[in-house]
């Protein structure tokens, strides 16, 4: 009848608990499971959500900013052709009396202007297309000319205004020669310009993106470019550092 030693007493407990197992409640595991799993699953969506949010905010921000910007720009585009107009009229008037009817329809009030200084002015004219000139040469009747030219210009693709200017500048010399030979040169560029001015507005998402990118990215190869010649835009080029895709914009 010895009092139990501390060591033995401890051993008693140790033995009792050595392999002791108690079955936990049945729903304990499910609560553990629910704590473990969502954390892993949530990681990715949070990143995606934040990325999407950033994209959305920047897009909307630029849209608002850009809408404020675009209006004056369109104005500027509209002004350009108007400047050209009188020159064209003068030219046509100078060229021959036969074609008087054409400008009369479009800009009646410009008609009575003096015809004398027109020769000088004609040389200044920038917006002239060689194609139309050639066609005019072939067709003799003034009425036919009208139609031909109109058709030709309608058929003209809505090219970039810059491209057109460059085109025209390169052909200025030829034009002036033609003008001096006093062939019947009728210029309906007014119509063409007006159309262009309209088409230069924002027609689709591609235009918006291009505008934004042009503002932000001054490189030759833009970060991203859309081709927006036709009504629907398509991705034409991407330039993200080492990764480049697509042909350069045809500017």
């Amino acid at each position: 009848m010895q009092p139990i030693q501390d060591k033995d007493f401890d051993q008693l407990f140790k033995n009792a608990f050595e392999d002791a197992e108690i079955t936990p409640s049945r729903d304990l595991w499910s609560s553990i499971e629910s704590e473990i799993e969502p954390k892993k699953k949530r990681i990715i969506p949070v990143y995606w959500l934040s990325a999407a949010a950033v994209l959305l905010i920047t897009t909307v921000g630029f849209l608002v900013y850009q809408q404020q910007e675009v209006k004056p720009k369109q104005f500027a585009n509209n002004v350009e052709p108007k400047v050209v107009k009188p020159v064209n009229e003068a030219q046509t008037v100078q060229n021959s009396e036969e074609t008087i009817t054409v400008p009369a329809e479009k800009l009646g009030q410009a008609l009575p202007t003096t015809l004398k200084p027109a020769e000088g002015v004609a040389k200044i004219t920038v917006k002239e297309n060689i194609k139309t000139v050639e066609k005019q040469k072939i067709v003799t009747s003034p009425e036919m000319q009208k139609q031909e030219i109109v058709i030709a210009q309608v058929a003209q693709p809505k090219e970039d205004i810059k491209a057109k200017i460059e085109d025209a500048v390169s052909k200025v010399n030829q034009e002036t020669v033609l003008a001096s030979t006093s062939t019947v040169v009728k210029t309906d560029d007014v119509i063409g310009d007006d159309e262009q001015a309209e088409s230069k507005g924002i027609r689709n998402v591609g235009d918006v993106v291009n505008l934004i990118v042009n503002k932000v990215d001054k490189r030759k190869d833009k970060f991203i470019q859309f081709r927006t010649d036709d009504d629907d835009s398509s991705l034409s080029s991407i330039n993200i550092g080492p990764f480049k895709f697509g042909k350069k914009n045809k500017k």
């Binding site: 139990i4 007493f9 608990f17 936990p24 304990l28 473990i36």
Partner: protein
């Protein structure tokens, strides 16, 4: 593993909480398991550490259970020799938190008094005195449960 947690907790609910937190820790730190020693032993260590952490976290918010309170719990109907793990668990759970921690850590997990003192933030002497006090309480409690003989005398 719940048995391990039960020894450190004052009731089953607390034990299951510890078990849950412990298992979540196991899954989060599974890559830290170096493979030396048994995996069960590793999980057990995680559980014990979780229990200790939980104890330290609750140290201030828990009201200290009066030792006398434990004595007032009547326990009847246990025959000599049938005193099993469940009964010992009950006795341990009745201990005050501080005594229970020291007793568990020293007796069953095999920590030294120095380690216990460092882990629980008490002195080595305090650990020793708490252990002997815990033993005394447990013995008395078992005597109450068993009647004479089991805890007091070898046999």
């Amino acid at each position: 593993m719940l048995a391990v947690c039960m020894r450190y907790a004052k009731d089953r609910m607390e034990a299951e909480d510890i078990l849950q937190v412990g298992y979540i820790k196991v899954f989060q730190k599974i890559k830290d398991y170096r493979g030396d020693g048994s995996f069960e032993g590793w999980i057990r260590r995680v559980m014990v550490n979780t229990a200790i952490e939980s104890y330290r976290k609750n140290l201030r918010s828990l009201n200290v259970v009066e030792i006398d309170e434990a004595y007032e719990q009547p326990s009847t109907g246990f025959d000599f020799g049938t005193l099993g793990m469940q009964d010992l668990m009950k006795v341990i759970q009745k201990l005050a938190d501080g005594y229970r921690m020291v007793f568990n850590m020293y007796v069953i997990e095999g920590y030294s008094h120095k380690e216990i003192g460092e882990t629980l933030g008490i002195s080595e002497g305090a650990s020793k005195s708490q252990l002997s006090r815990a033993r005394a309480i447990l013995k008395e409690e078992i005597i109450k449960m068993e009647g004479f003989g089991y805890a007091t005398y070898t046999g």
